[in-house]
């Protein structure tokens, strides 16, 4: 056993494509495992929205960039004796390797717990990996390493086309690609080289259409191993596993194939001296029985999170214990409580993971799926057959479909067009398979063009056949109709879907099903297929059953807390933080509650944290089904993001009680007309606006509202299809795009330029309000999810804040808010306007709660349950009638994390639509310190070296003066600045776009600063910058503040401190103490 007392755990930073909340889950599990051993834990992770960055899990929390520089300072301060690098994705692993290589770990005597660094390097460096595998007698695809484009081309000639080029130390296959010809290879190589920190690639034989199989292997220090799960990719080799439909357990492997690959996976784990967990990817050709080992990740991964949730085996928790030196059979299987962790789960259900993409938000859109990951989230459907999980997954994706098939499937289309689309994998391609089958294609045809095993296509055919009959259900005999509907339910159809397909009313269909007793059954996930009694709390619903597994029963109704579903742009780990926090508070209040959610990446779907977890769709029908099985005491929608708001009214209508703010209030805040009326009654201003349903009237309405105008459809979250038009010409350009949303009215509102955007995160009981204010560095026009946000407000005056507080109080009262809410304000020339109000948890709540050190959702949960707010914190000041805000004298800044590099070819720009994928934050003793540390925490931001010039250019006349002053500040800071000849800043040396691109490729540009949307001028320049990991700032106000901070840094008037979260809170306390004493004196005098 390792005898460590203090362990440093590295997190994964801001959520980006290929590094998402799965690391919050695995890190949280590891922290829990360490805590259980009495070990002090130090967590380094700037992702403030995570659940792990609290003192509940970690003893010490550092919100700092994950770089060697910061990690070394933390190690020096904290003197840990152990480090865990396998729980924070590739970011943590790379940081760990660098700490080791630079001798930091040696210097401070920090032991690497788990897989030794040599093993990690053997797994991550392609050439060493290959050598290690061959030495262990394991087959790897023919390949050759290359250190230059020339070498790579020669290697490809030797290996033979097609080839896949793999990049070392990459994330989500970034930079990897397939090439069928030499020209293609050469064109793609430049980018590949820019993404590798070691600068080598591997040119490998491309195993086109081979099966892709993945094993999750646990290995202890004595070499005992288990394969916890075998995952099978439905789409064959060539599509990144993060982009794939993945099924567990494997469906099409014979036992001999399964065991051969399992043994090979064990061989891989042994060869890299694994201690903990790894995944092993293999390619299999069933015709010949040939197979190859593709790669391994000696760390927790997206698949290991999926495997945990799919099997009920807590991989991260057990892996952490193995790192401490436990043997597998010394650890208990927590689900059964009677078996050990030396065990391979047996599933009696089918699990399907389906990715969620948000490529619509990016331009230009390139939606061909390949060896790079572009998906942003995923769902996990559980059922008893393939049909069921396909249909569930497509509903869970929340992409506006009723299942794998719905009436869209039956809209006429040319079969050849559909088949043409199927030649390459695209998001949600399985719906195209359904369509093709409906239009008469055969399974053989589809299998031969896609390479997808027919086993996975047959269920689609069955679904299509059932759907076709449902359309003609009226012509069936009563008996046949009943048989058909029962088959349909088992094949994953819902009453809503059947109603839509057959043209019936939902209520009628559902009522008939209920009368027949056709309700879903709740089945438990217990890791051992029912073989032994297991006290489990993890369930799913299915129509393939005859009984419920034993359900927990209690005197009060069960409270159902809805999760936020799959992550997408605009809904991410911050909502999971809300779900988990509300749940935790309910538990502390002694309530019996369950979480319904299906996102395998999250902490909220960790059955170990939750007393009762249900994997189910978050549709009104599914929630109501569960509510009726479970004698429900109420549904909590506050942390379910937009899903919660969308189901609230429907559930309410069907008599399922909603706790907290009532659906009518939610609707009143969401519906612009109703909300506008309310504001009018309250005498609160908002920007002029109008609704247009007839697009032809748009120019006239825009004229009335006043240019510039902002256009958006109703019920949005992340700003999908929000556009700004400065004049009529621009408006007419946009009208084409808007026609895609004709089903919903378009809201046209006046866009107030250069306005400060302020937000408040609040809790109310309908009478008092707890308000946490903040404001944006960027002026209005940048989506709040993409904005840099400051606490305390940086630009907002005290007088304005009082006004905001007053308005907030009025709105909370009028809407009878019970629980969390958020209001966004615009401030221009001392006037305060309301732009949006959401009666639920907001994106910024983890940030505001942690910076202000106020348990927002502790108060929130009590209010949801109808209790009084009862504020106790002595830092709270009543700044308006019954509106309280805390005193705050330290700073916190939240920065967006973008994934431009991962979204192949997308043009990086900021606007009223959200495009960031995550967020990071830092605290500091002053604004610029917090700002700079926060900005540096987002990848790939770094402080540009003084010897490389900064490229800075405006998008229009409007921003030129502002960027000019940025350029001046940067010059004062000692930087050379260059501007773009095609869009210059007067007085700054100019270079041509082409030259800029070349300079960027050679890393001769340290940072790019621009603004607005000018792809016709600088597409290549911006794209080159993000492809080459060069920091990019796309907003003038942010650029100005960052450059000021850089200047102060070089003047040495700014210090970037490294302090633990609790220490910072303590400093805040010390700083406000004199104010508190003064206030107390005043009160006493009054008495």
């Amino acid at each position: 056993m390792e005898t460590v007392r203090k362990v440093l755990l590295i997190g994964s930073g801001g959520i980006k494509i290929a590094e998402a909340a799965e690391f919050d889950y695995s890190g949280s599990q590891a922290l829990k495992a360490l805590k259980g051993e009495g070990i002090t834990t130090i967590l380094v992770n700037p992702n403030i929205a995570t659940i792990q960055t609290t003192h509940l899990l970690a003893d010490r929390v550092y919100l700092t960039p994950i770089t060697v520089e910061y990690l070394e300072k933390i190690i020096e301060r904290e003197q840990p004796d152990g480090i865990m690098v396998g729980f924070g994705g590739q970011s943590a692993l790379s940081a760990g390797v660098q700490l080791y290589r630079k001798g930091v770990l040696d210097k401070y005597g920090v032991k690497v717990l788990g897989t030794p660094i040599e093993g990690i390097e053997a797994a991550l460096t392609r050439s060493i990996f290959r050598e290690t595998m061959l030495k262990a007698g394991l087959p790897v695809p023919p390949s050759k390493p290359a250190n230059s484009i020339k070498e790579a081309v020669a290697a490809a000639d030797e290996v033979g086309y097609p080839v896949i080029v793999r990049v070392s130390f990459n994330l989500g296959g970034r930079g990897s690609f397939v090439a069928y010809r030499r020209e293609e290879l050469e064109a793609k190589l430049t980018r590949a080289f820019s993404h590798s920190i070691v600068g080598n690639v591997l040119v490998e034989k491309y195993l086109e259409k081979w099966k892709e199989i993945e094993y999750e292997v646990m290995r202890d220090r004595a070499g005992n191993m288990v394969a916890v799960a075998c995952l099978e990719n439905i789409d064959p080799m060539g599509v990144h596993t993060g982009e794939s439909l993945v099924v567990a357990p494997s469906q099409t492997l014979t036992d001999s194939e399964y065991q051969t690959l399992r043994s090979a996976s064990f061989g891989v784990a042994s060869a890299i001296k694994l201690v903990g967990e790894c995944n092993v990817q293999l390619a299999l050709q069933q015709m010949t029985g040939e197979y190859y080992v593709i790669e391994t990740n000696p760390r927790m991964s997206r698949s290991s999170a999926l495997a945990s949730k799919a099997t009920g085996y807590p991989l991260a928790y057990i892996a952490a214990k193995l790192c401490l030196g436990y043997l597998l059979d010394e650890l208990l299987n927590m689900i059964t409580g009677s078996t050990t962790a030396f065990f391979e789960p047996s599933l009696d259900y089918v699990v399907l993971k389906a990715p969620r993409w948000d490529l619509d938000k990016f331009w230009p859109r390139d939606e061909i799926l390949g060896s790079e990951m572009m998906s942003i989230g995923e769902v996990m459907a559980i059922g008893r057959n393939m049909e069921e999980v396909y249909q569930k997954a497509f509903r869970m994706l929340d992409i506006g479909v009723l299942g794998l098939v719905d009436n869209d499937t039956f809209t006429p289309e040319d079969l050849s067009a559909v088949m043409e689309r199927l030649k390459q994998f695209r998001p949600y391609w399985l719906r195209d398979v359904a369509k093709a089958l409906y239009l008469g294609a055969t399974i053989d045809q589809i299998s031969s063009i896609t390479g997808v095993d027919k086993f996975f296509l047959k269920p689609v055919e069955k679904i299509v056949n059932i759907a076709k009959l449902i359309r003609k259900a009226d012509s069936l005999k009563q008996e046949s109709r009943e048989v058909l509907f029962r088959e349909a339910l088992k094949a994953g159809f819902t009453a809503e879907q059947i109603a839509a397909i057959s043209g019936k009313r939902y209520e009628e269909v559902k009522e008939a099903f209920r009368t027949n007793g056709w309700n879903p059954w709740l089945k438990n996930i217990d890791t051992l297929a029912g073989e032994k009694p297991a006290v489990t709390n993890y369930s799913y619903t299915t129509y393939s059953g005859m009984t419920h597994d034993v359900l927990s029963q209690g005197p009060d109704g069960l409270l159902l807390v809805l999760g936020a579903g799959c992550f997408r742009i605009g809904v991410s780990v911050e909502f999971d933080w809300g779900t988990v926090n509300i749940y935790k508070n309910l538990k502390e209040m002694g309530k019996r509650a369950a979480i319904i959610n299906y996102n395998p990446e999250t902490v909220s779907t960790d059955w170990d944290i939750v007393d009762f977890l249900i994997n189910s769709e978050l549709t009104p029908e599914a929630i109501q089904d569960i509510a009726s099985i479970q004698s429900c005491g109420g549904v909590i929608i506050s942390s379910a993001g937009q899903i919660g708001n969308n189901v609230a009214e429907e559930l309410d209508r069907r008599g399922v009680p909603i706790l907290g703010s009532q659906p009518s209030s939610v609707g009143r805040a969401e519906n612009r007309s109703k909300f506008s009326k309310l504001l009018e009654e309250l005498g609160i201003k908002q920007p002029r606006w109008a609704t247009v349903t007839d697009l032809a009237r748009l120019p006239k309405i825009a004229e009335e509202v006043g240019y510039p105008v902002i256009l958006r459809p109703s019920y949005i979250l992340s700003g999908t299809s929000v556009f700004i038009a400065y004049d009529e010409d621009e408006l007419k350009d946009l009208m084409g795009k808007l026609s895609r949303h004709t089903d919903k009215p378009v809201v046209v509102s006046h866009f107030i330029e250069d306005a400060v955007e302020a937000e408040v995160d609040c809790i109310s009981d309908g009478s008092e309000v707890l308000m946490l204010p903040m404001d944006h560095v960027e002026y209005a026009g940048v989506h709040s999810g993409d904005a840099t946000i400051s606490i305390p407000p940086y630009r907002t005056s005290e007088r304005t804040l009082a006004k905001i507080a007053e308005y907030t109080g009025l709105i909370a009262n009028a809407l009878q808010v019970k629980g969390p809410f958020n209001i966004q304000y615009l401030v221009k020339d001392g006037e305060v306007y309301v732009i949006e109000c959401n009666l639920r948890c907001s994106r910024s709540m983890p940030f505001s709660s942690k910076v202000y050190n106020i348990d927002l959702l502790g108060y929130g949960t009590r209010c949801i349950l109808g209790e009084r707010l009862s504020l106790t914190d002595d830092r709270l000041e009543e700044i308006s009638d019954r509106v309280f805000a805390p005193l705050q004298l330290i700073w916190g800044v939240k920065s967006p994390q973008f994934s431009w590099a991962q979204i192949r070819g997308s043009y990086p720009f900021l606007g009223p639509e959200m495009r960031s994928t995550g967020e990071v934050a830092a605290l500091g003793l002053e604004f610029h310190e917090a700002l700079l540390k926060s900005w540096l925490s987002a990848t790939p931001n770094t402080i540009p070296p003084k010897d490389t010039p900064i490229l800075i250019y405006p998008d229009s006349q409007r921003t030129t003066p502002r960027l000019k002053s940025v350029a001046e500040v940067l010059r004062e800071a000692g930087y050379e600045v260059l501007t773009l000849e095609e869009s210059p800043i007067p007085g700054v040396p100019e270079i041509r776009g082409e030259t800029a691109v070349k300079a960027i490729r050679m890393r001769r540009i340290g940072m790019l600063i621009s603004s607005g949307y000018i792809p016709q001028i600088d597409y290549d320049v911006r794209r080159a910058a993000v492809d080459h990991n060069i920091p990019v700032i796309l907003n003038a106000e942010l650029a100005l503040e960052i450059s000021k901070a850089l200047k102060r840094l070089s003047d040495e008037t700014l210090k970037l401190t490294v302090m633990e979260l609790g220490e910072l809170w303590e400093i805040n306390r010390q700083r406000i103490l004199p104010l508190l004493l003064e206030r107390r004196r005043d009160t006493e005098v009054l008495k």
């Binding site: 050990t340 030396f342 259900y349 086993f455 051992l528 032994k532 009694p533």
Partner: protein, 377 residues
């Protein structure tokens, strides 16, 4: 037109109906597949998620109706991965029998069952059945597949389920009717005493370079020794070992001969009985390919295939010279024995896998070493 639509619904729903009756009176209707007809047997379940061709052809399942807990069975059709000449189970119970897709598949699961006259029932809640068996213990059952529900009599089927008395039957089964020689030409001979041997065991021994002679157990010890074996393997097979007096006597003679002996599954139980230990019937047995065992000799942990409804009682070991070699990590069941002084070893699990992991293959190597050592002395 309507008639035709109704026909399409029928096609989706399946042509046959089926029912499963249990001796406790449970009667469940599902869809039928495989062969028409009626079979009874002891109802057991396995949690193996793949390897159904190997399981169905495992002679140890003779006399048993098998429930597979994984809901989709038949996905890769029927590749020629058999453990004997055909299906050995009495009937199959699954959630869904699927259509095959695999380049090595010869036919669908349903067609294969039909060829072997084995009825199958699907569209039943297998998890519920497993829980029932887990609580009540294994019990008799009967499955009937018919063209229409009217052809199935509930009372008759339950009666048929109650007729099953697996525990008192004397099986002394053999997979091979006559002595059969494999790897002819190799010098060193291992005799496998066949009480229902899995081909995987024969294969393993062949892989070690032995001439392997499979001798049906009923032929007695003379037949066994007539091949001048360097080592003897007592095979797996169906039935209650305590009833198999003839076999126990044979095994005793084998042990007394001093020939290195390996017992597998039933063979392990017979060795224990022959040396005076006792066996007992387990409530619902160990059937799956994810069973964790601890090797008490090396300290190694292995995941194994297990398929046993009886086990050797630990308390009865004293005085027999037998010591636990493997134990089940979860419930402590004796999963292997090693003799203090005699060249006798046995495992309750299946070290050959098929289906299941190959982690415990080394048991055969251990046996080989024992044979070699014995030959040297």
């Amino acid at each position: 037109m309507d008639e035709c639509l109704d026909g399409l619904v029928k096609r989706i729903a399946g042509a046959y109906v089926a029912a499963l009756a249990l001796e406790d009176g449970t009667f469940i209707v599902g869809k039928g597949f495989g062969a028409l007809g009626e079979r009874n047997g002891e109802v057991v379940f396995s949690t193996a998620m793949n390897g159904y061709t190997e399981s169905l052809t495992d002679p140890s399942y003779v006399g048993q109706i098998l429930i597979l807990t994984y809901p989709l069975i038949g996905n890769y059709g029927v590749p020629p991965d058999f453990e004997s000449d055909g299906i050995k189970i009495e009937a199959l119970v699954v959630s869904q029998a699927t259509e095959p897709s695999h380049p090595r598949s010869m036919k669908s699961l349903s067609d294969w069952l039909k060829e072997n006259s084995v009825p199958g029932i699907m569209d039943v809640d297998t998890r519920m059945l497993v829980q029932q068996i887990r609580e009540m213990g294994v019990m008799g059952g009967a499955v009937q597949v018919a063209e229409s529900l009217e052809d199935i009599s509930r009372e008759k089927l339950i009666r048929k389920a109650r007729e099953v008395d697996y525990d008192s039957l004397v099986f002394e089964y053999s997979a091979y009717k006559e002595p059969t020689i494999f790897n002819e030409g190799k010098s060193s001979t291992i005799v496998v005493v066949d009480y229902g041997v899995k081909d995987g065991i024969i294969n393993r021994l062949m892989g070690l370079g032995y001439r392997v002679v499979v001798v049906p157990g009923r032929l007695g010890s003379d037949a066994v020794f007539s091949y001048n074996p360097k080592g003897i393997v007592i095979s797996n097979g169906p039935g209650n070992p305590a009833n198999m007096h003839h076999a126990i006597r044979l095994v005793k003679e084998v042990i007394e001969s001093g020939t290195p002996t390996l017992g597998v599954c039933l063979g392990h139980q017979l060795i224990a009985l022959a040396l005076g230990a006792e066996t007992y019937k387990m409530k619902y047995g160990h059937r799956g390919i994810n069973k964790a065992c601890r090797d008490l000799v090396t300290g190694k942990r292995v995941i194994t295939l297990q398929n046993h409804g009886y086990a050797v009682s630990e308390e009865s070991l004293s005085g027999t010279g037998l010591k636990p070699w493997f134990v089940d990590c979860d419930d402590g069941t004796i999963e292997g024995l090693i003799h203090e002084s005699l060249p006798v070893i046995s495992v309750q699990f299946h070290p050959e896998g098929r289906p299941g992991p190959r982690d415990a293959n080394y048991v055969f190597e251990f046996f080989e070493k024992m044979v070699r050592r014995n030959g040297d002395s």
